[in-house]
Symmetry: C2
C-alpha cells in the first residue's frame, strides 16, 4: 500500500504548479499517494493539464483559504480554519494521511502543526532542522532553525535527541556525530546556555562529539549540529548571504576579461555541477521534529524537484516511524534520569 502524504498545494511562490508537478513525480516513482490540498477547482484545472497523471494515485482535497507569506503565524492559525495548511495537517491528525508537506509560511506552518497535531510527550518545543550538503559530499543537519529563541538547556537536549533519531533513520548512519554549536572546541568555550547544554548532551546515550564551531557546519565534522533557534537562524541566513555574495563576486570577476569569458564558457558544465552540489532542493526541505506526525517544511521558492523530494522524505519519515522513535528515546532518557535521580 502506498504511503499517503498530504501536500499543501498552495504554498510555493508559484503555487500550485511546482506542487502538482512534484506530486506527479512522487506518485509515479516513490510509491506515494498524494493528497493535494487547496482550492479544488484550481487544482483540478492544473492537474487536467497533465494527462499522464490521470492514472496516478493523486487526490484533491478542498480547502478554501490560503495562508499568505505575510500573514502572522498566530493570526493565520486562528483566523484561517479552512486553509490548505490547516486542512492538510488535519488529515494527518485524523490518520487519513501519514505525513504532511508545505512550502508555505514557515512560522505559520510551525504554529499550526503544533496546534493541529500536538507535540510529542517529552517535547517542550518542536524543532525545525535544516538539511544541507557538506564539503565531504554527505549531508548534515542543524536544529533548531525554526526561531525557537531564548532556549533553555533542556530544549537543546531534546533537539539533540530528535536530530539524532532523524539523521540515523533518514541518512542510515548508525552513530551520527552530534555537536553543540559554540565559539570554541573546548568545553570551557561558550555561553551560559551551551555550558549547561554541554553537560546534558554529554550524558545522553548518543555519539556526542562536543562543541563545534561555525566553520564546522559545512566541513562534515558533525552530522547533527544543535543550537538555539536564534543562532541557527542567523547561521543559516549568513550561509545564504555568503554563498550569494561569492557567486556574485565570481561572476563579476569572470565578466572582466575576454579570456575569462571564454574560460567561463568552457567551465560552464563545472559551474552547473557546482550549483547542483549546493542545491538544497535535493534534501527536500526541513523536517519539523517533535510534533505528532511527519511534517516537512519547504522553502517558498521550491521547484517541482524540491517538492518531490520533500514528499519522498515525508514518506520515509512515516515509514521509519520517526515520531514513534523520538517519543521512545525521550521516554527512555526521562526514565534514566528518574532512575539516576532516585538512586
Amino acid at each position: 500500500m502506498p504511503t499517503v502524504i498530504a501536500l499543501d498545494a498552495m504554498g510555493t511562490d508559484r503555487a500550485p504548479k511546482p506542487e502538482i508537478e512534484g506530486a506527479i513525480q512522487a506518485a509515479r516513482h516513490d510509491d506515494i499517494h498524494v493528497l493535494l490540498v487547496g482550492r479544488e477547482a484550481q487544482l483540478q484545472e492544473e492537474l487536467a493539464s497533465h494527462p499522464a497523471a490521470a492514472d496516478l494515485p493523486i487526490s484533491i482535497i478542498n480547502a478554501t483559504e490560503v495562508v499568505g507569506m505575510r500573514d502572522k503565524a498566530a493570526q493565520a492559525m486562528r483566523a484561517k480554519r479552512d486553509s490548505s495548511m490547516r486542512v492538510g495537517l488535519r488529515l494527518v491528525r485524523e490518520r487519513r494521511a501519514d505525513g504532511f508537506v508545505t512550502a508555505g509560511n514557515t512560522g505559520a506552518a510551525m504554529a499550526t502543526a503544533k496546534v493541529a497535531l500536538g507535540t510529542l510527550p517529552g517535547v517542550d518545543r518542536p524543532g525545525l532542522a535544516a538539511v544541507f550538503p557538506t564539503a565531504t559530499g554527505s549531508a548534515a543537519i542543524m536544529i533548531d532553525v525554526g526561531a525557537n529563541v531564548d532556549c533553555k538547556p533542556h530544549n537543546l537536549e531534546q533537539f539533540a535527541v530528535m536530530g539524532e533519531v532523524y539523521f540515523r533513520s533518514i541518512f542510515s548512519k548508525p552513530r551520527p556525530r552530534v555537536g553543540l554549536l559554540s565559539i570554541g572546541e573546548e568545553e570551557t568555550k561558550g555561553n551560559e546556555l551551551t555550558f549547561q547544554a554541554f553537560h546534558l548532551l554529554k550524558a545522553l546515550p548518543i555519539n556526542f562529539v562536543g562543541n563545534v564551531e561555525g566553520r564546522d557546519l559545512y566541513n562534515g565534522n558533525a552530522d547533527v549540529i544543535v543550537c538555539d533557534g536564534f543562532v541557527g537562524n542567523v547561521a543559516l541566513k549568513v550561509s545564504e548571504g555568503v554563498a550569494q555574495t561569492v557567486r556574485y563576486m565570481l561572476k563579476e570577476s569572470l565578466k572582466s576579461t575576454i579570456a575569462s569569458q571564454v574560460g567561463s564558457l568552457l567551465a560552464r558544465n563545472a559551474f552547473k555541477a557546482f550549483k547542483r552540489r549546493l542545491d538544497y532542493s535535493e534534501y527536500g526541505g526541513a523536517p519539523l521534529l517533535g510534533v505528532k506526525g511527519a511534517c516537512i517544511v519547504c522553502h517558498g521558492s521550491s521547484n517541482a524537484n524540491a517538492i518531490k523530494n520533500a514528499l519522498r522524505v515525508a514518506a520515509e519519515c512515516a515509514r521509519a516511524g520517526i515520531t514513534r522513535k523520538i517519543e521512545h528515546e525521550l521516554a527512555q532518557i526521562r526514565h534514566h534520569a528518574v532512575l539516576t535521580h532516585t538512586t
Copy 2:
C-alpha cells in the same frame, strides 16, 4: 611627526617575518614610526636581512616572553609580564606609542588590553569589530566578534556607539547605517536581548536602520552590524566555512572535465581578482573598541600586507582620535539619558 605604533612582532604563525616586512612597508609609505616589540636579538637579525630598512623609522623594543596561541587568556596576562603583547600595550599606556597592533592570541590580546590600557569611561565591555567586504564593494563591520557572550542590552548599545564612531571616522561615511542582527526585519522578530536592545538603539542619535538578518552581512544593507559576541563569532566562522566550502566545491567541479580545466586556466585572473575581493587582509584586522588606546588585532595567519594595513589603520585611529570620540559620544548619551530621566 610620524605616528608611533607599537607592533607585537611575535604574533603571527610565521613571526617575526610578516611583522618585519609589514613594518618596513608601513614605515616607508604611511608616515609611521614602528616600534617592533619582541626578542631583541631575533628581531635585529631579521631586520638586518633588509638593508633598505636601515634608514626607516623602525625601532626595536625588547620583550623576553611570547604569548602562545594555546595559552589561556587570563593565565597569559598574569604569568607573562614581559610578553611582547604586554610590553607593546604598556608603550601605549605610557604614551610612548599612539597605537598597538598584534596578530597574537585574540583572547589574550583582549584581556591584556583591558588590563594594561583600561576601558574608557562609559564602556562596560570593550568590543572587537570584524571588518569585511560586501557585494557592493564597500566595507561593513560587525561588533562584537570578540566572544563577549551573554551580553546585556546596554552592552549592545555601547557596541553600536563605538562601531558607529569607528566606521564614520575610518571609512569617512558621515551617517553610517547601523543595524541590529536579528532573525527578521520586523521589530517584533528576535529574542529577549534584541527586543530590549532595539529600543535602546532606536533612541540613540545614530542612523539606526532597525533589525538586519544574517544575509544582510554581505549585501551592503548595513555598515555597522551590532550583535552579542556569541552570535557574532558564529556568524564570522560560518562565513569562513561557507567561503571555504564554496571554493573547494568549485575547484572539485572544475577539475572534472578537460574543457573545465582549460576554462579554469583561462579564468585564472578572474579567480585571482575574486580572491582579492574576498581578502580580509586589505582591512588590516579587527579594531578593539572601548579600551584607552588604538588597538588592532590581526589574524594569526596574517601576511605582511595585512600587518602593513593594520599599522595604517592603527595610525588612522590614533590620528582621528577614535578613543576620544567614543568617550565623548558615550558621555553625551549618558548625559542625555540622565536629562530624560530627571525631567
